[in-house]
Subunit: 368 residues, 2 copies
């Protein structure tokens, strides 16, 4: 079965929307934040911990899984859910973003992208067909089209050619897609150019995908440009399909995205921050390595219902991080992920009650 | 309350003994293997995971906790149990072993040991009184006397002087000990010299401790010498007190120790092996990084009831270890610790049924 998006309620004052996505692995309300499990694991965490924080969908990276352990091994294991022992829905990206950011492509042609493995330098070639073949084998619930992620900024001329090619690639992806239990999302590109975002959105929607994602918004541009990119694209997306803003996880950006009509978010930020001892709180991010937490026997966030905040003090977590003990990273990861998931829970409630803007203002008043 | 050891049953053919230790945090059967939480955490694991593997007592290191976060912070947190959120019993070592192995002492005098912190090179001074003061503050259930751990080999003359000093230090430890909820164990030293082990055991027992430990058996000597050291010491220890063989965790050595009358073991081996991708099985240790496990979709050990073996395949754990994902280390740590704890469960059952030697032979026939 493909996923099914249902729009329950649209906020009266903004484009914020409350809905749900039905998948083969359960039904989840939107807007939603998806934890990222790059290498077939959300760093340091177990599937049970992911469930306990009420995560709906998690994301895993096609590029990484292709290189290690390889798509065939995951297929032989019975697909990604079985391989990692997670019975919730999983979204895989196309590998495009990693190829362009991590592997530094050697050559982009109409056929695909030649690049070097970031692990061993092997010459590799990724095409729309190959990306879909890998994702079909991974058997994720949602696959993404293979797109070009141009750097920022590029000229209008370059971006236009890139968008046109990404549209041709999207058609090839849909053509190549063979997994009837997997949905396929198209990706809107076009950088900061309103006309190209419109063109990309309209042409991608014409191909008809199970959902749409807005790409290229987190490649180093300023926040206002990012929000404009969403505005430029989202109005051309059908309201009966889910909308996914890729790679976005700052609380402020989630709120701005929701306000503009986004349903799904993902980002490595919560787990990456955890690695460095940084934790989300209602007052903003704090650095637990700071000496002032040495004797602070209160939880990271008094209002938080996560396992870390229910059981551990800042002083203990600080000790673990300073002593480079991974249990510290694990506790902050749990907290940071739960923080964003809770944020989307509260956002949903606010939309239901037509008070999204009020909620956003209240949240941002405290959060610095 | 101090701990209470009760001897239930002595094996008919060997010195193996089945008993229990009553503590302020529950009652636990012996022989027992204790997971090591060096820096106030059993590496990568939560207290719930430690409980789930039926660990009885865990061990934490006074030297490490003294340096980071500091004994006063742990005391302010309400003691080590509260600090780390573990409501099972905890044993702390004296810091002696780390000072002699990790910090390389600059000067050993009658008063104590001067050494440099392995973290920042700070000059530090540890004495019997200081070690006990720290352990009193940590508020562990069992504290250890501060002893000298001489390198191996040393001359009989050096060892004799060292043993005599360790006995004087043991008296000072008992004198300094002020925590009525904490038990204090004496440590028998004496290297491979039968007369010194006898002397050390008899003199230490005269001081009268809540239990006795045999030290200096894992400092690089061959296995037979290690077993002889146990033989030399254990016969002078009272049968109504628990006996603890420090730093020993190889399955073979646990079996040999139990046969000689040991009740408690600890070792960093299970978690250290896990870090390198090595796992215990009934057939011996395996290296999960080995390419032959790439497509092995069976658990580490079919007969194992641990969380890792119940839920994950070798292929997945291998992927995690190769990709340097700590969830892999976490899964193997759970398995390796459960393996040794299960071993002691089976040992206890075998002793109860007077078939310890048969169990040992059967186990070692398969385990290579």
């Amino acid at each position: 079965m493909k996923i099914e998006y249902t729009l329950f309620h649209k906020d009266k004052k903004t484009n914020a929307r409350y809905g749900e996505i039905k998948t083969n692995y359960g039904t989840y309300e939107t807007p939603i934040f998806m934890p990222v499990g790059t290498q077939a694991t959300v760093k340091t965490l177990s599937p049970e911990e992911i469930k306990q924080m009420h995560a709906g969908i998690i994301l895993s990276n096609t590029y990484h899984l292709w290189l290690r352990p390889g798509a065939d091994i995951v297929k032989k294991a019975g697909g990604l859910h079985k391989f990692i022992n997670y019975d919730g829905p999983i979204l895989t990206d196309s590998g495009g973003f990693q190829v362009f950011s991590l592997a530094k492509p050697k050559d982009i042609s109409e056929e695909g992208v030649e690049f070097k493995s970031h692990i061993n330098g092997d010459k590799l070639f990724l095409t729309p067909e190959k990306s879909i073949e890998i994702q079909n084998k991974l058997d994720s619930d949602i696959a993404m089209c293979f797109d070009e992620c141009p750097p920022y900024p590029v000229t209008h001329e370059y971006m236009q050619k890139s968008v046109e090619r990404t549209i041709r690639w999207a058609k090839r992806c849909k053509e190549a897609h063979k997994n009837s239990n997997q949905s396929l999302f198209g990706i809107v590109q076009g950088g900061e150019f309103a006309d190209l975002r419109k063109y990309s959105a309209e042409e991608t929607v014409k191909i008809d995908f199970d959902g749409y994602s807005i790409g290229g918004t987190s490649v180093g541009e300023d926040k206002n440009t990012m929000y404009k990119m969403i505005d430029y694209a989202v109005k051309y997306l059908p309201s009966n399909k889910a909308r996914y803003l890729m790679g976005v996880g700052e609380p402020t950006d989630i709120l701005e995205g929701v306000e503009r009509g986004i349903d799904m978010f993902d980002c490595v930020l919560p787990t990456r921050l955890a690695r460095h001892g940084h934790a989300f709180t209602r007052m903003g991010k704090i650095n637990l390595k700071n000496a002032k937490y040495k004797e602070d026997f209160s939880p990271i966030d008094n209002s938080c219902d996560c396992y870390a905040c229910q059981n551990y003090t800042k002083a203990y977590i600080r000790h673990l991080i300073v002593a480079k003990e991974t249990f510290g990273q694990r506790l902050i990861s749990i907290h940071n992920l739960r923080f964003l998931i809770k944020l989307t829970e509260e956002i949903r409630q606010a939309i239901k009650e037509d008070r999204f803007l009020e909620y956003k203002t209240n949240f941002l008043d405290k959060y610095r």
